[in-house]
Amino acid sequence: MNTEIRDNLLHGIREFMGDDLLEMNVDYVHPLVRIKRDRLLDACRFLKNTLHFIYLNEIIGTDRFTSDDRFEVIYHLISLRNRQRLFLKVRVEEENPVLPSVTDIWKSANWNEREVFDMFGIRFDGHPDLRRIFLPEDFKYYPLRKEFPLLGVPGSLEMPTSTPDHD
């Protein structure tokens, strides 16, 4: 990996974000950057338009199970031109877990955000079609939250009856 390119990128981010850059971790192979929630769209546009992170690989949700800023959403970005990956993190509180949607910036965010919504119940403002992607649409729980039991809530998912249909 070219460290010079990486240092330039990180310097650009640091200059652009200023005080809104909360955490920058470069110990891992790929840099991790945590920013304030309000500047998320701003930062994403900057990363795509100026630093050429044109590829949103995935969106990860995490439940930190803490009393403040319980959830964390991680955007895994790739710059094909610079051969560089970047993890962009924002934290969301438990009471009102809402984030602005980045579907306008990266089209691939659509299904990824639906998955995070399905598993953690984090809503994305401005998402064109925010429905559950894996679980049935009338499912009431968010299964990757820590308080959700391992084997699920009995009766919450429907199963066919065990009696034959023709008797």
Binding site: P143, F148, G152, L157, P160
Partner: protein
Amino acid sequence: MSLDRVMGEGYFTTTIDALTKWGRANSVWPMPMGLACCAIEMMAFAGPKYDAARFGSEVFRFSPRQSDVMIVAGWCTYKMSHAIRRVWDQMPDPKWCIAMGACASTGGMHRCYGVVQGVDNFLPVDYYISGCPPRPESIINAILKIQDKIKEQQSLKLDS
């Protein structure tokens, strides 16, 4: 038998029941319900090396209306269970069901909220195959057990 003497050489007598059972037992056509990695072993079972044709089960029918035994191979989610049940309901009687592998039998390592802990929660399973995934020989064994079941328990009187 006196009938043999009446009808001459090359004839023998039997019952309709025995004849039907013999035919049924030796032409058990599977309905492959391949859901996960067990399906790969199921394909090996149908292939030339293990040669399911020796037991009359080489014809994998992808239409439930033409098959006799459903092999549920792999883990089954709650969402998929409705589709499996619809396929099962479309199979004509008499029909049999094999739960192949640990996941289809008990949920296996998928001990979580989305996976049905054993397809016998909504299907009448006749034979469970252990293993993760089972060897193709195990499926041959299961087919032979199904054949035994047909020969011993099935009767035309049950069809009606």
